[in-house]
């Protein structure tokens, strides 16, 4: 079935088509969200939110992009909503109590991506912490490139940017990560 046939079936409320969609895209969405959110439980919840949004918004899909691009965009938007909400919580955490504020201010706990090779887990955990501090667009492009393995062209389509913009974002992301990691290792050694 091509994209337009799937969309038609979804619009008609065909449950089997919806189930197939979840089966086809479930892992993709989960991995994209997991890389951005860096929390397994939150990523599961947000993955569900993504497919519920797909169901709610299927009538608004204009077909100006592929189905997978559209789903990626929803996954990224839902992930960013959560990241921004968590940042706001951290900003006002001091209102709860000083001891709670300290816990909140310590930030993201060490994230271990289950798909990383065993010998790289510790380094990857350090890298993910550095990625979490990148500006949003750099974080998204870096994750889509390195974690999701998408090409720059695919990333440009998802983010509605030019290829040059994506390449520039990746370049800046890498430079910022190098700086961040250098500081980390300087303090450590």
């Amino acid at each position: 079935m091509n994209d337009s046939e799937i969309i038609e079936k979804l619009r008609s409320g065909d449950e089997q088509s919806y189930k197939l969609l979840v089966e086809d895209f479930g892992n993709i969405v989960f991995n994209t969200v997991l890389g951005l959110i860096q929390n397994h439980q939150d990523a599961e919840d947000i993955t569900q939110d993504v497919f519920i949004e797909v169901f709610k918004s299927v009538n608004k899909f204009r077909g100006d992009s592929s189905l997978s691009t559209w789903i990626y965009r929803i996954a990224i938007n839902k992930s960013l909503e959560t990241i921004r909400k968590n940042k706001r919580k951290k900003r006002f955490a001091f209102l709860h109590s000083f001891s709670d504020y300290k816990k909140e201010a310590e930030g993201v706990t060490d994230f271990v991506h289950p798909g990383v090779l065993l010998e790289n887990k510790e380094r990857a955990s350090v890298l993910f912490k550095a990625i979490s501090k990148l500006p949003e667009n750099q974080k998204i492009t870096y994750n889509l490139s390195k974690v999701d393995g998408l090409s720059n062209k695919e990333i440009a389509e998802i983010m509605k940017m030019s290829l040059q913009s994506v390449e520039s974002l990746l370049h800046r992301a890498k430079a910022n990560l190098k700086k961040s990691l250098a500081n980390y290792y300087t303090e450590k050694l």
């Binding site: 189930k19 979840v22 089966e23 479930g26 892992n27 993709i28 969405v29 989960f30 991995n31 997991l34 599961e44 993955t47 569900q48 497919f51 519920i52 169901f55 709610k56 991506h113 289950p114 798909g115 990383v116 090779l117 790289n120 380094r123 990857a124 350090v126 890298l127 390195k146 974690v147 393995g149 890498k174 990560l177 190098k178 990691l181 250098a182 290792y185 300087t186 050694l189």
Partner: protein
């Protein structure tokens, strides 16, 4: 020497995502979505119900306010002054121009 080691560590860390495998989502993902979707239309009706009730209460308040102002007797300035004079026992032979 120290700088060289840091650069090496940085490069190794940057390469730690090489070969990262895609992780499997929860095998019960569809089931969970499905059960959340069961409550979705009911939740929407629930919100709609609240909105309708809120609008009704607002309309009732507006109608009450309008009819209250409509039926309210209009008290003239003369009547107010006479009432004041009476209340404070200020009646006299003088004809006060006001």
């Amino acid at each position: 020497m120290k700088n060289f080691n840091i650069e090496e560590e940085v490069e190794k860390t940057l390469g730690s995502l090489d070969g990262v495998k895609r992780v499997e989502a929860n095998p019960y993902l569809y089931g969970r979505i499905s059960s959340r979707m069961q409550t979705y239309p009911a939740a929407k009706k629930h919100v709609l119900g609240f909105v309708i009730v809120a609008i009704l209460i607002l309309l009732i308040n507006i109608v009450t306010l309008i009819s209250y102002n409509k039926d309210k007797p209009v008290i003239t300035r003369d009547q107010k002054v006479k009432a004041f004079i009476y209340d404070y026992n200020l009646e006299s032979d003088y004809n006060i121009n006001y």
